[in-house]
Symmetry: C2
DNA sequence: GATTTATTCATACGTTCGTTTCATTCAAGC
DNA sequence: GCTTGAATGAAACGAACGTATGAATAAATC
């Protein structure tokens, strides 16, 4: 196993510490110490702590979005009007795939995503490109076809619900451990539960006004 | 309008700033400046920044839990086996009530709750008492009666989903504004959407294993 | 082997942080 | 009027932070 270069080791350490302690709760010193690198290495390889955060976020989110896009393409190749359950599975599937990989790196990855979505520090959300929006819009259009009669506003509300459930699902490590229940839910069971839960939620008839 | 005492003004300022910038992103100096108080007032009235955070969290969460408890009591007084939709409404209702009150203080309150649930700083979650767990357990038991055949693990998964959807719903301010859609969804509409969404999700048949 | 280029290193700078100290103010209680 | 206690004020403390600097080192090019 070849030792990865300093830049990669810093990215790995930063990904882990950002996920565990948040952006502001992680110091550059802690990152470089964990990475076995010098303090100045962050400035040299990334420019600043904020740009390091952006690099970490990109490395995590980009393959995820690509997978979501690919699965949507597959579903649309099968039929122009996929079922709601197929769309849900295509959307949340990659998030759970990422979780299985690495046994512990998965939960870390999803905690990092939650952190990216919820951290109030503007440095955390200032990294994104137009790609991420495009994926969401594609799914929005697909769901709109599968759920006629749903107003655009309510559809958008429901899609935010998908993100909330899949993200917060794995937030558990932050939470207090639930007594008498295994908190680190098995990956495959949670995936199926999420699909059941979200398919039923998305398929609900429009709220009468 | 009588001027509130320093302690209350500090609580108000801290609640607002913690909600906007998180625990670590808010300095004691910023709080006391906004409150029009002296820097040392936090140490005098609360002991430390962490204990101030605890006081803020208590002041926000306790009436919310009390309202959730009261609504569950009402539902159980009507019938020993309430509908899933009634349980959902009793659980998420108080969160949306809090939102309407104050027009702008409501969104702030829910952002603070998201912050409490997702902030990695242990000072933020070290305040809680046994009360909050008790409310969750009561709802868990009520949902278990209304949804026979659902395994305890999947039920717990779904209840976490409720919390995720209601909380993240109002996270929008952190997010990038969605072009072509009004991001600050009207309070009453969102409440009904959430009930529709979550009732359907909770009522889904158990995932076959 | 000398020169150049890319990293790594130790160290320091200036700022901001939470907290503490101690003097001061001010309203009651006697 | 004097004392007591709570509350506020101005100032400082040490620690930790992100960043910048310039020397040292390793690797590649000629």
């Amino acid at each position: 196993m070849a030792t990865p270069d300093t830049r990669t080791q810093i990215l790995d350490a930063a990904e882990r510490l950002f996920a565990e302690h948040g952006y502001r709760g992680t110091s550059v010193r802690a990152i470089t110490t964990l990475a076995g690198a010098n303090l100045a290495a962050v400035g040299y390889h990334f420019g600043s702590k904020a740009e390091l955060m952006a690099a970490v976020a990109r490395r995590v989110v980009e393959p995820l979005n690509a997978a979501q896009c690919a699965r949507l393409d597959e579903a649309l190749a099968r039929t122009p009007d996929p079922l709601v359950s197929d769309l849900v599975e295509a959307f949340v599937g990659p998030l759970f795939d990422e979780m299985r990989a690495g046994e512990e790196g998965g939960a870390r990855t999803s905690r990092l995503i939650v952190m990216i979505l919820s951290d109030p520090a503007e440095e955390v959300r200032g990294w994104t490109g137009p790609r991420e929006d495009a994926v969401g819009e594609r799914y929005l259009a697909a769901f709109a076809r599968a759920l006629p009669g749903l107003s655009p506003e309510e559809l958008r509300f429901r899609m935010r619900g998908i993100l909330a459930v899949t993200a917060v699902d794995r937030l558990g490590t932050h939470q207090r451990p639930v007594p008498g229940c295994t908190p680190p839910v098995g990956g495959e069971a949670a995936r199926q539960w999420a699909i059941t839960f979200l398919t039923a939620a998305m398929s609900a008839p429009p709220t009468r006004t």
